[in-house]
Amino acid sequence: MRFLFKTTYLQDIRLARHGGYVFWYGLLVLALLAAPWLCSEYWLAQLTFILIYSVVGLGLMLLSGFTGLFSLGHAAFLGVGAYTEAALVGIGTPFPIAMAAAGLVAAGVGVVVGLPALRVKGIYLAIATLAFGFIVVEIFARWESMTGGNAGRQVMAPKLFGWSADSDASFYFVCLVVTVLATLAILNLLRAPTGRAFVAIRDSEISAQSLGIHLARYKTLSFAISAALAGVGGALYAHKLKFISPDQFDILQSIDLILMIVVGGVGSVHGAFLGAIFLITMPQVIALAKDFLPAAVGQAPGLQGTVYGLVLIGFVLFEPLGIYGRWLKMRTYFQIFPFYRRGMFKRQKSFLKSDRLK
């Protein structure tokens, strides 16, 4: 068992809390750097998708997991980013600039959505973002000169001064760099006063307000950062698929994103990554399992939806902290063996909290 003895505040907010962090995350980075030579082409593509969804998941996690604001229209930000990127790269903009622009445009849209969010709370915010998502998808479908309408539009490979990331491996590295930067940015944000303010708002708006946190400003900021990350993720997504159409950004995509962070673990940065891994590998697992199921079940078209739904229900009922929560429990069990008690992570039972009177 490891005891951390902290003597300074800087030690308390250090990113790598002890040597184990440096070792294991170093190993992970090495493995990810070596992945193009280790994995087959197919798994490299899956890994790229995991990285892309992680970036989007980080954004949604910041909003839902750390600021406590719902978004049921996050796929719309993904779409805004993707179409901005497609348009800018289409006219020959270097991709880092295009990607930054995609993030900024998405952030701008996020602020616009965030403004009504200041007036409404909880469930109503979910509905506002849902409505916004529907409207944006309809705009994508109707603004044909820009988006190509329902027929979709091709996206060119990312280019920078003559160098083009058109091979799978080179694009994988682009995604890897963006993911690492996004993760570091979020981790830094969360240990800074801004991130602390977000968490305070999540835990109690009234206490946060009485501590001098400007609710409107921080909520809008959270929306903007979250949308920006989704926009950057959308830009990568557009390049990866090389083809985008409005139905890729509809309500089902938004629900997939929610599924991702709930399964990964709401309120943890790890959760975004674990959720992305889950979201990408689940269809493969189902496809593999189909061979072992009776044909009537295995070949049925609704199987994937049913499994997704059951997993979602199962996690909400039995493991509200998600995969990351399960990992925490396992780790604690071995760290303090044999003193683990059943009730250590028990949820606090509370009376039905009323949103209506807030």
């Binding site: 839902s64 406590g68 719902f70 009504p116 007036r119 409404v120 909880g122 469930i123 109503y124 979910a126 509905i127 506002a128 849902l130 409505a131 916004f132 529907f134 409207i135 309809e138 479908a141 109707r142 009234i206 309500i251 629900i255 929610i258 599924l259 709930v262 709401v266 009537a296 079940v297 049925a300 078209p301 609704g302 199987l303 994937q304 939806g305 049913t306 499994v307 997704y308 739904g309 059951l310 997993v311 979602l312 229900i313 909400v316 009922l317 509200p320 949820r347 039972k349 509370s350 009376f351 039905l352 909290k353 009323s354 949103d355 209506r356 009177l357 807030k358």
Partner: protein, 292 residues
């Protein structure tokens, strides 16, 4: 003018469906403080159950109607008991994701029924494809039945909440659960009952909608338009749900006719966004403030 009237009438019929689904949403919101994203799928289950009763069991329409509504009511109670009750008191986020999961499972399971789930069916109701001619107006009987049934159901529900013991108890519990519990009202049982009632109303909506559209696994997505209806009426107000449904239905059918293509699908959402900015509590919503 006549044409506008015709459009408004079909909008009203569509709005009644939204209103009925929104009614269930409001019932659930008042008791368990969650927006049920599975409610459209409960409606779909109801329509499929009615279809099953009529074709597989060969029951006559009225019997199938009653059987479906009762069965869906029981299903709602069981659903509340098994998945909703254990996580009451958790953050709203958990409940919303839970209902999304329920919707997925319902849709997936229905799709998995071989030979039935992936097809589109029409419900063989006795009043199918008939029209009445009132003056120059051509009234679709299916739509008239929807409007009549919604009016009747609203009256029944109003009487129930106004005059019966259980209705008054439900009102009390929805206003303040803790206080109601101290007064000896079995709040938990009432929560189950509210879910049952909501599911039964959803089943009625499904059976009324089935002759107009068709019965298919994705018909539950209409439930997503009932959410704007509930917001416009004021989440937490039962008459508001019906009024909100009517507003959404009429706006939708008018914009489908007078505005360019594409506006019809987003009209409900545009209305709800405007409503949330202008008057977040809806038409009938009450202004509540928490005192610290």
């Amino acid at each position: 003018m006549l044409q506008a009237l015709q459009i408004v009438i079909s909008g009203v019929a569509q709005g009644c469906i939204y209103g009925l689904i929104a009614l269930g949403l409001v019932l659930i919101y008042k008791t368990t403080e969650t927006v049920s994203f599975a409610h459209g799928d409960l409606m779909m289950l109801g329509a499929f159950a009615g279809f099953g009763c009529m074709t597989l069991l060969g029951l006559p329409f009225w019997l199938a109607f009653v059987a479906t509504v009762v069965a869906m009511g029981l299903f709602g109670i069981v659903l509340e008991r098994i998945v909703i009750r254990p996580i009451l008191g958790q953050p709203a986020f958990a409940l919303v994701t839970l209902t999304i999961g329920i919707g997925y499972v319902a849709r997936g399971l229905v799709t998995m029924i071989p030979g039935v789930g992936t097809e589109t069916h029409s419900l063989p109701v006795p009043y199918k494809d008939q029209t009445w001619n009132v003056g120059a107006l051509v009234l679709n009987v299916e739509q008239m039945v929807v409007i009549a049934a919604t009016t009747m159901l609203s009256a029944v529900l109003y009487a129930m909440f106004r005059y019966t013991r259980v209705g008054v108890a439900m009102q009390a519990a929805s206003q303040n659960q803790l206080a109601a519990y101290y007064m000896g009202i079995p709040v938990r049982r009432l929560n189950g009952l509210a879910w049952g009632l909501a599911a039964a109303v959803a089943a009625i909506a499904g059976l009324l909608l089935a002759p107009i559209t068709f019965v298919y696994a994705n018909m539950g997505f209409i439930g997503l338009k009932a959410i704007p209806a509930a917001v416009v009426g004021g989440f937490g107000s039962l008459p508001g749900a019906i009024v909100g449904g009517l507003v959404i239905g009429i706006v939708e059918s008018l914009s489908g006719f007078y505005l360019p293509e594409g506006f019809k699908d987003v009209a409900p959402y545009a209305v709800v966004l405007i409503m949330l900015v202008v008057r977040p509590n809806g038409i009938f919503g009450d202004q509540l403030r928490k005192k610290v």
